[in-house]
Amino acid sequence: MHERLSYEDPGWEEEVRRICAEIESVDGAVMLALHELMERFGYISEPGLVLVADLLHLTAPQVFAVATYYHEFRLEKPAETVFMLCRGPACRIQGMVGLRKTMERHLGISVGDRTADDKFAIESSGCLGICPHAPAMLIDNALVGRVSDQYLEQLIAERSGTPV
């Protein structure tokens, strides 16, 4: 795992150049580049996207078309904690409806929104694929199965405080 970089860091352009130089010779490399940006920066900024297009000899709209098509690519900086709940069939019938309400009540936002302080966001996925452990979520990009109300309440309480 790399340490996260920020687009505000002075070296960000160098990093994108390094990423693209490595894969420039691969045909159809744009997805690989966008995945690398996600990994390093957590999202794909507009200048980042334009630079990728430039380095891979594509137009910005071509890269934009790809970046907006696939669910995994983010074009905005994510909230500090993203709860991605699973909408899949097993989770739906095994407790997700209740968990969603717990989250919405504690955070005061609905699925698809983020809190005004950018601390939390609730998102959803079509299916996270760990169905035997329903209800499931993706929290901090890690899969969590057998999620309970208590677990969520504790996590929200811990992270609502001032970060150390």
Binding site: V26, D27, G28, A29, V30, M31, L32, L34, H35, A65, V66, Y69, Y70, H71, E72, F73, R87, G88, P89, A90, R92, I93, Q94, V97, S125, G126, C127, L128, G129, I130, C131, P132, H133, A134, A136, A142, L143, V144, G145, R146
Partner: protein
Amino acid sequence: MTTQYDALVATANEAVRSQSARGVPRITVGISGCSESVGARGTLRAIRAELERRQIQAIVEETGCRGVCYAEPIVDVELPDGPRIAYGRITADLVPDLIDSVVVKHDARPELALFVVGEQGYAGIPAEPEFDYFKLQQRHVLESCGLIDPLDLNQYVARGGFSALHKVLTTMTREQVIEEVKASGLTGRGGAAFPTGRKWESALASKNRPKYLIDNGEEGEPAIYKDRRIYEGDPFRVIEGVLINAFAIDADEGYIYIGGEHKIAIQRVNRALEIARERGLLGKNVLGTDFSFNIQVRIGGGSYAAGESSAMMSSIEGRRAMPRPKLVRSTERGVWAKPTCMNNVETHANIPLIINRGAAWFNAIGTAKSKGTKVFAVSGQVNRPGMIEVPMGMTLRTMVYDVCGGMIGGRPFKAAQPAGVSSAPVAAANLDVQMAIETLTAIGALLGSGGLVIFDDTVCMVDMNNYLVNFNELESCSRCITCRVGTMRLTDILTRMCTGQGRNGDLEALAWLGPLMEQTTLCGLGQAAPVPAVGAMNIFREEFEAHINDKRCPAGFCEALIEERVPVGVS
């Protein structure tokens, strides 16, 4: 003369032998996306810490997933000269106790154990074949998943790995390999069930160059997770299958396309490819023969549509994963407009078995038209959800009540949803249907790629189908108007029904949209999008009508229809 393969086997056997000769306990933890979500990494850390604290010498290894998902995290302990025993639900807090009793005091702790690996039970713990969950399974594709360190090539080779590739490269012609696969009756495990041998035959016949091969591991449909587990648990088996495929069709370049969410699968496949390259199994002159082949990994981005073959080809080319018209077969004109042969991960994982044990062995398993075993991902309201491998044709009833331990709380079985979002449900009246391609088709359902969600009587079929059509709406590539708008209309109708806004004509609209979408969309995904809802409406007509006419949800799931009935002042 010693061949490169003989040397590989000798090295592998020596490595495995010297490891067991160390005379120390061996402890393995199943690490997969699935087990990780319930704390398996914490269990592994706790084991390392506890061994360190007690100064115990032991071999600690990661394995993949056995499919015994309901009992994860799973830890195997094998003492020197003792049996290998699998323990279930070993969370980090249980580790000190487990190590103290099993490793230090030699007490096998039968109450924590699941089964003993192998044919012999121990201390009242059943042997693998007697373990309830495994009893009726036939585990061939999954035979090494959860048992071996997925990234230890020696363990794979010591269990016969790459012997099929060696056999193919040294004793068979391309045509003979294809004949064998054709004779086996293997059909594609990704959902379309096209005969694999026939696909290979037309791929071999294509003379245009270069010729590509794709291993399809996007697996973006709901409630299915078998391909990523095969990658995670036994990546070399998939690589061997891909290499045999490449030889058979005389391919030049290979891709393994893995769904972007399957992080552990991506890591392990990448690493396994590196190892295979280092050990002469990939690249120039594989195993010292004149066969050369390279495989690149491509990562999806969380798009269901990318699992469709032509959409995946667009994705590999660095574009949106949108299906394209198939005026010419992809074995003629596929990725980069060149001949391309695409197969599913499970299909590839079956190939080494067919080569080693023969087409007749494979052909004897299954039903008249569906051959071999099938891996199913079972979830929902059963006591033992997980990934199972059974002969084609096992009845749904046996799967639910015997393999998966019956319904949670003994509630009645209402329906099963096979094939992700592409099939009509299977109702209780059809519990005795054989789970095979032709038998499911005969009752208007589909086998698909092996997803299976089990519903009890608390599940509302209107609500469930609202989810299924909504999934299709969000995943539609939007190319065909009837798919883009049709899935929106289906979602509108079902959402209204679930919230008490259903009206006369809704069911007729569903019945009209179904065939319209099936006839006017380009790809299989669009054609299948209305199928579950229309099928459910036909089977559970009364439930659908109750939502519209009485504003009532008989299963008691749709909240808007329940709260309305709660008297004011009571909450």
